[in-house]
Structures are given as structure tokens and as C-alpha cells.
């Protein structure tokens, strides 16, 4: 019989849970994790990572199609969907195995099965009808989230897909409908569009990628349309009628006009909801607000000794937010000095569609609404030497400052590799630099990052290359 008494038990091993467990083990806490499926959670297995593998295929294919413009002759290139999916699954499997190794290396005990609270300081783990009881001083709930479903529009796994089926497609749909233009919906739309599907995206809001800066949303929409996507904004899907081979969708636009169209496949990507069920919360002081658990700035729930992190605690639904919350929560538990709550305005967000989108902090609109007198800088990819050399002249980097204090309020980017650039502004925000330090920073030439510099210069009317 293995040891069942711990300082910390973490339920869920997504990017929140496994990071929290490893950090706890580093700090000397006797730690266990409970996992019902795969190490790494949705992120590694059915989210962030496998989608990046698919999108890489789309990118390589796109570059091959444009090979002649780079001076390379390529004939009859085509996408092998089965091999593409296989690669994506292998990437996920490799990383999931890596998590298992990391947990082992840090001497974190692993319990497979469905974990839930079972009274004060107790966790029960159920697997195949057998129940193991664990005792722990501290318990972190890190069970993540799942796709939101809309009544009447539930995925059937065959014609109407959730992200899970979309990651292992049986076919490249001729005509694909993507419902929802957030990060998840747009990444799938971008992937299938690039490998040959005729893609329609429906968004209930008045713009695509609605959480991004309006200017970036508009830029993205133009780019998607140029690539052949159909975008229906301010539109809802009221009905999905399935026949033997197709799905007929009914759309209602903002004016109430109803239209219909047929598709081979539909991907539902209308947000996610926390996995708050079957956690043994009944009778505890853990508060659940609709689909997420309420926590304070150190991830503490209302129940002493019980914490919740990541998607389970609500937006922003980002793996890196979950990991950070996990570390902060554990360090607070371990009594580490100088622990600071996560500043949510410094969390970057990335979408890996083509062109890529990345942002941190307040949009221009939000900054103005918060009462800031703003200075806004912009720099287009067309003015950057590296972008031209790469053959990626489409994109924009935008920075938003408080005019008086020089505080960097937000940064918004669209274009090649911007997901790798945004961290620069993330560091700047975390260190509370003003425009002066950013201007004094020497950015290497020739790089895409020079556009960040120029965008800052532009905000203060000192831009050189436009």
C-alpha cells in the first residue's frame, strides 16, 4: 500500500496542475497529483500543442505553394491529412510523456482516476469502481474546462465537431462552418482554410477575435477574407439540420434576416465552461459562480485548505495564466516570502492563425474607457526590412501608452511571428518601464522586433521608417 498522506494534493495535471505540483515538490512539500486521463491536460493533448502542430503543416504547405516567389520550383504538393494528424498526435504524446517524467523526477506521487473532495482535508480517487482515499493539508483543484455547448447545436462527433474531433479530422471538409471566432475557432478556421476547405466563420459579435483591439480585428478580417474565408459577423446560428451527408445551418443576422447554407462539417467553438461538477464541492464553503470557482488573489476558495487555479476559476482561459496561478498559490502555501498576486493586465494572449495575433494589456478602446489620456503608436510590417526579406509584408504592431505617465498600457500585434514578439512588451509591462526605457532599448537589426521599437517611437512622434 503506497503512502496516502500528503502536504498537497493537486487534482488535474494540466498546465496549472502539473506546474503547481512540481513547484510544490521543489519547495519540499510532499505532493501528489490526481489525473483521470492524460498528463498535460487539454493544453498538451487536445488544445494548445496539437493545434500548433496542425498549423505548422498549414504554414509549410502555404510556403510551398508560394515557393516560386522564393525561387524554388515545386510540383504537385498536397496535404496528407492522415499523416498530418498523426504528427500532431505524436507531438502531444511526446510532451505528455515528458510531463510524466518531470513528475517522477520531482518525486510527485501520481494517482490515476477521478479525484474529488471527500470531507475536510480528504480527497477520494475513483478508478474502475475502486476508491483510494488521500489525506492532505492542502488541495488544489485544477480540473480545467471543456467546450461550451449551445442547446440544439450540440456536437455529435460526426458532422458537428468540438475541438476534440476537429483535432483528429477524418476528412478535409469541402465546406466547413466554424461557429465562434475566438482563438479556438479562428485557429481551426485558418488551418482548414489553408489546407483547402471552403471556410465560413460565424461570430455573434460585430467583429472577429472580439477580445482583441478593434484595429487588429479589422486587419485580421481583411486578411481572412483575402485568403478566401467567408465571415458572417453579428450573426447567430439558430439551427443545424443534419442529413445523410451534410448539415444545413440557419443563420440570423443582426437585422433578423434568416438565411441557410449547407456544410460538410461544423466546428463549434463558442467558449468554454469550467469543470466544476463531481468535485465534491457540496457542503463545502467553495463558491461556484455559474461555471467557475470563485477564488481570491492567491487562488484560495472559501474553504480553508482548498484552492482552485486555471480555467476552472474563469477567464482568461490561458495555459500560462494557469501555470502562474499554480506557482503563486503553492508559494503562498509554502510560506515563501515576497509572493505577489498575478497582475492579469500583464498576461499576453496569442492566436496562431495566419496572420498570427498577439496582445497584452488594454486595447486602445479599453484604455480610453478607463480614463487614460492615450498616445498610440503603429508600425506596419511593410516598413520592416526583415519582414520584406521573409516575404511577410502584411501586419501591424500597435502600442498604447498613457500620455502623461508614459505607462505602457497595451500592445497589439498581427503578422508573422508576433506570438514570439509579444513577450518583449510583457517584460516591459511587468517591469513598469515607460516609453523612455523602451526607446533607449537597442533592438537588433534586422529583426521583426524593430517594429516594436518603431511603434513606441511612433506613439511619441519619433518614428524613423514611415
Amino acid at each position: 500500500m503506497s503512502d496516502t498522506s500528503f502536504d498537497l494534493v493537486v487534482i488535474g495535471t494540466g498546465p496549472g496542475g502539473y506546474v503547481a505540483a512540481i513547484r510544490a515538490a521543489q519547495l519540499g512539500l510532499k505532493t501528489a497529483v490526481v489525473e483521470r486521463e492524460h498528463f498535460g491536460g487539454i493544453c498538451l493533448n487536445w488544445g494548445c500543442i496539437p493545434t500548433k502542430a496542425l498549423l505548422r503543416t498549414a504554414e509549410v504547405y502555404r510556403n510551398i505553394q508560394h515557393a516560386t516567389s522564393y525561387g524554388i520550383k515545386v510540383e504537385k504538393a498536397s496535404v496528407d491529412l492522415e499523416a498530418t494528424v498523426k504528427r500532431s498526435r505524436q507531438v502531444a504524446a511526446q510532451l505528455s510523456g515528458g510531463i510524466s517524467g518531470l513528475l517522477k523526477k520531482n518525486k510527485v506521487s501520481v494517482f490515476e482516476g477521478q479525484g474529488k473532495l471527500a470531507g475536510s482535508g480528504k480527497v477520494s480517487v475513483e478508478k474502475d469502481g475502486k476508491t483510494t482515499s488521500l489525506a492532505s493539508k492542502h488541495i488544489i483543484l485544477a480540473t480545467g474546462a471543456r467546450a461550451r455547448t449551445l442547446p440544439g447545436l450540440e456536437p455529435d462527433g460526426k458532422f458537428v465537431w468540438s475541438y476534440k474531433e476537429a483535432l483528429v479530422p477524418d476528412t478535409t471538409p469541402k465546406k466547413l462552418l466554424v461557429v465562434g471566432s475566438g482563438a479556438i475557432g479562428i485557429e481551426f478556421a485558418s488551418f482548414f482554410n489553408e489546407i483547402g476547405s471552403d471556410v465560413t466563420v460565424v461570430e455573434v459579435m460585430d467583429r472577429v477575435l472580439p477580445v482583441e483591439d478593434a484595429e487588429i480585428s479589422a486587419f485580421a478580417e481583411r486578411a481572412f477574407k483575402k485568403q478566401g474565408m467567408t465571415i458572417k459577423k453579428g450573426t447567430t446560428v439558430t439551427d443545424l439540420k443534419k442529413s445523410a451527408t451534410t448539415v444545413t445551418a440557419s443563420f440570423k443576422d443582426a437585422k433578423g434576416k434568416v438565411t441557410t447554407d449547407s456544410f460538410d462539417r461544423v466546428i463549434m467553438a463558442v467558449g468554454i465552461v469550467g469543470n466544476v461538477e463531481n468535485l465534491g464541492l457540496e457542503g463545502t464553503k467553495v463558491k461556484v459562480d455559474r461555471t467557475h470557482i470563485e477564488v481570491d488573489e492567491y487562488s484560495r476558495t472559501g474553504e480553508p485548505g482548498v484552492y482552485a487555479i486555471g480555467d476552472l476559476t474563469g477567464p482568461p482561459w490561458l495555459a500560462h495564466k494557469a501555470s502562474h496561478e499554480g506557482v503563486i498559490c503553492v508559494e503562498k502555501i509554502a510560506g515563501v516570502k515576497d509572493v505577489h498576486p498575478l497582475n492579469t493586465s500583464n498576461i499576453p494572449g496569442c492566436t496562431y492563425c495566419h496572420p498570427q495575433v498577439a496582445s497584452v494589456g488594454l486595447t486602445e478602446e479599453a484604455a480610453k474607457a478607463a480614463g487614460h489620456d492615450v498616445k498610440v503608436g503603429r508600425f506596419p510590417f511593410i516598413g520592416n526590412g526583415k519582414a520584406i526579406a521573409l516575404g511577410e509584408p502584411e501586419g501591424l504592431i500597435k502600442s498604447v501608452f498613457n500620455a502623461k505617465t508614459g505607462e505602457l498600457l497595451g500592445a497589439h500585434m498581427i503578422g508573422a511571428e508576433v506570438t514570439e514578439l509579444i513577450q518583449g512588451f510583457g517584460i516591459a509591462k511587468t517591469l513598469e518601464t515607460t516609453e523612455l526605457e523602451l526607446m533607449h532599448t537597442v533592438f537588433p537589426h534586422p529583426t521583426l522586433s524593430e517594429m516594436m521599437h518603431e511603434s513606441v517611437l511612433d506613439a511619441f512622434d519619433k518614428v524613423i521608417h514611415i
Binding site: K337, D338, H340, K404, T405, G406, E407, L431, E432, T433, T434, L436, E437
Partner: protein, 429 residues
């Protein structure tokens, strides 16, 4: 470089005033504490004292000038060894880096603007590096603050934006200390307790850096106990009528929910109205008796306490007081009070009844002259008409500044207060 003396703000809301007259002329030598000029506002005439010694180099605004904006340079003071040629180096129009010294003076002579944290410890002048974010430095500089006087809560004590904003919100900006002013400040206020007066105990401990609010509490309450001759008066008040009336009032509308404390605020205000002698503060060589009855109410907040002010409380009904108090307490807890919402007033209320405290005596909140410490309302045996009976009784203790309020005056004030509390209908008049 000559020291620029600027038009002081005599109250949190003052934006301009009349420079009534100069008490010195160009070429005069002045010492710290000498009266330089008199400033008139709609409320009062105040003297501006010199903080530094030196020679009056140039008077920039003539006596009798009306509508002089706060912070306008009004004179230049030559330091020892400087001659008049140094005046050329100062442009009268330039923003005055020495604006702070005069504000410091104003704090010393203007009791209605409560003293603010002026930490004696300066880390910058000794050459030690002050860790701070660029944004924090920018905001501090814009507010005329010395970054070294602010405590940092960032990684390894780094001073970040939130620290500066918190410092400003807690009133720190009113008394931006600079090394130059320290001597002056020390001359007019109580000496700050030396941090190293007692060696710390040996043994494992955690060092908790002081935030702006903690520094203010430490400085002002030490000053209060050292300089204000406190005396204490306790009286018991029966609450049964008040509780019945409260229940009745609260049952009539959902637009308000009046607390016992709201009654106490109103009763205090009405008692002060009956006894204007108690609505006053010590002014050094005079007593300043106020017309408006502003009541400060202590609110515990994360990391300290703050006293938002219900202004003109005698003019406000219970529902009005109640809703205003809710709003102020909410802002206090969020750290969003504006200086004019917590500065001023002659009289404070501190209520610990909700913690079951029977009675206690509170420290006066300078420059005020009285504070009412309110205990819990509880059932106690009382003698009525020669027989033992039960009543809900609350003990209150008034701490008074004897320089302003004598024993009989304080006792009379409590009698009026008790009258209102025990017969709350009279509060409605």
C-alpha cells in the same frame, strides 16, 4: 541655488488665495520659524513661516495681490553663501522644485490640513540605491514626491506604481518631504521616533516594510500622545429607544439601512452644534472654532485605518448620513478616497462595539481635539425607580484635548450626546 517659496494651499480644496501682506522685505535675514507673509482665504488668515534660514532675495508677488494660484512662486530665499547673482539662475516661471518646503510649512501652521507622512528616514541622500520602477519614478516626480520616502511592495521591496498611487491616496502628496525641509519640519512638529531607539529582540522574525499609511499612523498618533494633553470622560447611554426607532425606520424603506453608528454620527454632530466651543481645534497661539460640523469616522482597512469625513453632519438626515457613510467606507476599503474626503473635521468617532469591546479610550487624531470611543450595546442591569431592571446600554468614552476642551465642556458635550441617543426623537427636530 536659491530656494523658491510658493503659494501654499491652506486647505485641501484651496486653489488660490490672497497674499495679504509680507512681514519681511528683500534683504532681510530670516530664521526657520520666522513669519514671512500672511495669506488670506475665505475662511481664515494664516501665516507662512520660513522653513529654512536665509536672506529674502526677491519678492515675486507683492503684498495685497488677490487670486494667487497655489504653487505660484512668491519669493526667492538665498541660502548661506549665496549672493543676489544666484537669483538669475532661477526662472520665476519655472516649476519650483522647492514647492514642497512651503507646503511643509503649511502643514505646520494650518491645523485643518492634517499632517501627512513625512518619514524622517531618507535613504536617497546617504547614497543608498532606491529600487523603483521607471513608471513609479515618473508618477512620483509628477506628483512632486521624493521616491525615497515611499515604501516598496514589489519584488524585493522594489517601489512600483501601486506603491506611489497608494502613497498619494493616503495623503502623502500633501507633504512631499525633501532633504532640505527636514530640519524645518522637525522644528515645528514632534520629533519622529528614532527607528533604532530600542534594539530589536533577537530570534527569528519577519521584517515587514512600512507602507505610507502605517508611517502616517505611527507619526501622527505618536505626535498626538506626546503633544496633546488627553483626558477621558465615560458615560453610559441606554439604547432601547434608539434600537426600537431604528427598527421602525428600517422597516419602512429599502432605500436605506440605518446603523446604530449612523445615529451616533448624527447625535455627535447635533451635540457639537449645541456646544460650538467643542467644535474647535488647537492653533498654537489661538483656538480655531469651526462653523461647519464635520465628523470623521474611523474605518478599518487592509493594513491600517483611515477616517473619512461626513461633512455638515448636523445638516444631514439619518438616511443621508447612512448612505454617505456606506459610500465612504466602501471607497476607504478600496483605497479610493480623495484627500478632501478624509481631511478636515474636528471630531472623530471610533466604534469597536461590533467586536464586543465594552469600552475603550481612543487616541486623538491630530489636529482634531476630540474622539469618541464607542463600545458595544449590551444588556445590563440598571436601577430604575429604585428597582433592578434590564436595559441595552452602551458606554462611550470621549478623549479630549485639554488645551481646547476643559472637563466641564467635555462633560456637557457628552450629556447632550446621551440626551440625543436616549431620546432619539429629539434628533429628528
Amino acid at each position: 541655488m536659491p530656494i523658491t517659496i510658493t503659494m501654499p494651499a491652506l486647505s485641501p480644496t484651496m486653489t488660490e488665495g490672497k497674499l495679504a501682506n509680507w512681514q519681511v522685505k528683500e534683504g532681510d535675514s530670516v530664521a526657520s520659524g520666522d513669519v514671512l507673509a500672511e495669506i488670506e482665504t475665505d475662511k481664515a488668515t494664516m501665516e507662512v513661516e520660513a522653513v529654512d534660514e536665509g536672506i529674502v532675495g526677491k519678492i515675486l508677488v507683492d503684498g495685497g495681490t488677490e487670486n494667487v494660484a497655489v504653487n505660484t512662486p512668491i519669493a526667492l530665499l538665498l541660502e548661506e553663501g549665496e549672493d543676489a547673482s544666484a537669483l538669475d539662475t532661477v526662472s520665476a516661471a519655472a516649476p519650483a522644485p522647492a514647492a514642497a518646503p512651503v507646503e511643509e510649512t503649511q502643514v505646520a501652521v494650518t491645523p485643518e490640513a492634517p499632517a501627512s507622512p513625512a518619514p524622517a528616514a531618507q535613504t536617497a541622500p546617504d547614497g543608498k540605491r532606491v529600487f523603483s520602477s521607471p513608471l513609479a519614478r515618473r508618477i512620483a516626480a509628477d506628483a512632486g514626491l521624493d521616491i525615497a520616502s515611499i515604501s516598496g511592495t514589489g519584488p524585493r521591496g522594489r517601489i512600483v506604481k501601486a506603491d506611489v498611487e497608494q502613497y498619494i491616496a493616503s495623503g502623502g502628496a500633501k507633504a512631499a518631504p525633501t532633504p532640505v525641509t527636514d530640519t524645518g519640519a522637525a522644528a515645528t512638529t514632534a520629533p519622529a521616533p528614532a527607528a533604532s531607539a530600542t534594539p530589536p529582540h533577537a530570534g527569528e522574525h519577519e521584517e515587514i516594510p512600512l507602507n505610507g499609511m502605517r508611517k502616517t499612523i505611527a507619526k501622527r498618533l505618536t505626535e498626538a500622545k506626546q503633544t496633546i494633553p488627553h483626558f477621558y470622560l465615560t458615560i453610559e447611554c441606554e439604547l432601547d429607544n434608539l434600537l426600537a426607532m431604528r427598527k421602525e425606520l428600517n422597516s419602512r424603506s429599502d432605500e436605506y439601512k440605518i446603523s446604530v453608528n449612523d445615529f451616533i454620527i448624527r447625535a455627535s454632530a447635533l451635540a457639537l452644534k449645541k456646544l460650538p466651543a467643542a467644535n474647535a481645534i488647537w492653533g498654537g497661539d489661538k483656538i480655531l472654532q469651526y462653523k461647519d460640523i464635520d465628523i470623521s469616522v474611523a474605518v478599518a482597512v487592509d493594513g491600517g485605518l483611515i477616517t473619512p469625513v461626513v461633512r455638515g453632519a448636523d445638516q444631514k438626515g439619518l438616511a443621508g448620513i447612512s448612505n454617505e457613510m456606506k459610500d465612504l467606507a466602501g471607497k476607504a476599503k478600496e483605497g479610493k478616497l480623495m484627500p478632501e474626503e478624509y481631511q478636515g473635521g474636528c471630531f472623530s468617532i471610533s466604534n469597536l462595539g461590533m467586536f464586543g469591546i465594552k469600552e475603550f479610550s481612543a487616541v486623538i487624531n491630530p489636529p482634531q481635539s476630540a474622539i469618541l470611543a464607542v463600545g458595544a450595546g449590551e444588556q445590563r442591569p440598571v436601577v430604575k425607580d429604585g428597582a433592578l431592571a434590564m436595559a441595552t446600554v452602551m458606554s462611550v468614552t470621549l478623549s479630549c484635548d485639554h488645551r481646547v476642551i476643559d472637563g466641564a465642556v467635555g462633560a456637557e458635550l457628552l450629556q447632550y450626546f446621551k440626551g440625543y441617543i436616549e431620546e432619539p426623537l429629539t434628533m429628528m427636530l
